[in-house]
Amino acid sequence: MTRLVLENVTKRFGGLVAVDNVSFTVPEAGVTAVIGPNGAGKTTLFSLVSGFLTPTDGRVLFDGQDITGLAPEKISARGLVRTFQLVKLFEDLSTLENVKVGRHLHTKAGLFSAFLHTPAARREEREVEARARDLLSFVGLQHKADADASGLSYGQQRLLEMARALAADPRLVLLDEPAAGLNGEESEALSRIIRRIADNGTTVLLIEHDMTLVMNTADRVVVVDFGRKIAEGTPAEVRVNPAVIAAYLGSAATAKAAEQEKLNG
């Protein structure tokens, strides 16, 4: 089954074509990665899919339905939730409360249940609390539940944003460079978490720079460069694709060097 279809999606910013006639599909199962050099148009692509930008041309289908041009809150209500390259936490709230916000779409307490603490509202609140704590444990932040979100380390903030997105029970979650700023050990742990998200039935589409993470985590890779899709396939296929190597020379060389270092060390 296909979770997401992009059909000839294009986005122009004035004269700049940030996303140029990109088409690909994301199957329901597993992890799909979008890779490409800085400025290739990956984040723009995510914004087009999640409704934060409207495509100049083309269509986006989610679970068979056309979601092109819908408002972001309408798209997330359908089960497509994104995270941001630059983490956007709610700084007034604790770590736990941040995750609770993620339950918004699946709860309904209004003003009067807030004021009156009706039994139904209290039951709902208990469920939200339990679910939020589970998700914090899932990403390993349970001991930070009552800490200020803004006081977390960078890596922890990324994990918190992921837990918050998962609280919305998405069918498709878009992760924009989840491993950025993490050290090797952290990004290995992240890789395991991402695999588990996919194994639990949530489709994962992620943008990543860290080739090791992509190779370890992704089932399929889409490569973009200058807004265009230049390759698509399994990590192994993509890795030996000449066009990808040309576009990615810098990063590929770095990855190789890192691998070499690992062998030597």
């Binding site: 809150e73 918004h104 990403v139 890596g155 919305a168």
Partner: protein
Amino acid sequence: MTSSLSITSPETAHRPRLSWRTVLPYGFAAAVVGYAIAVGGYPATVVGFALIYAVFVIGLNLFMGFANQVSFGQNAFAAIGGYTSAVLTATYEWTPLPAMGVGMAAALVIAGLIGWPTLRLKGHYLAMGTLAIGLIVQEITVEWTSVTQGYMGLSGIPPMGAFGFEITSDRGQLIMLASVVAAATFLSARLKRSRMGRALSAVAGSEEAARALGIAVARYKLLAFLLSAALASLAGSLFVHVVGFVSPEVFGLHMVILTFTMLYVGGIGTIAGPVVGALIISLLPETFRGFKEYQDLAYGAALILMLIYAPKGLSALFSHRRRP
């Protein structure tokens, strides 16, 4: 669920609990109000006004603190509430409660008419819109003399009351006002810790992230704006019934500046902040009366010291949550 992530350092869980820190601001407020009730007279008048302002500032805090928006025109809604109460009771001999209800309804309708279009726009449209409505309502209260008597003002407004009772004594009024402030504070605390309150904090923290989680940002801003207008209107009505008189100056730009000061000194976004701020800012000039011609200077110096040592407001000094 145990995914062992080694990113985190072990620390014990920390649950907020009732400690002297959280209780202190309320203890302060209760002590001040208790003192005023006990001695009556001039202190009771000063504290009474402070409590009316507190109602207004609690509303301002919902919009500016909880939702992180800006409005320079909440005084318009106080004027709408106040004048509706004044005209309906003094001129048309209504009883206070229904008059207050009509005033609040009028304030909500006007707030909806301004908020609905401007809150969907990005940027400062709402701030400008609210500034405009504040000035327009001010003009109306001055110019519409057949109803408002202009600068002459309206007098003969009856005291607050219901079912044949009237609250005429200083003490009775203070108890009534303190009850309203306590109820509004209690409800805003409940709101803050609810699904709705979290949605407002999300809007305050990042509109984009809020939308990504399905929160209809414009709707929540409007909700906060309407609640804020309702409390402003209530404060306006309370004022005219306590004083028995109303004129345009009461709800002028002075009120905007004073209430902003109260909100920031008390602690924007906190629960106890509005009450603490309203009481401190109302009492400060009185405390410095002994300084005679240096009173304003001492007042200004005190404000500056508070901004330096409690930039997030006095109540934030007593927050239970760990700071980074």
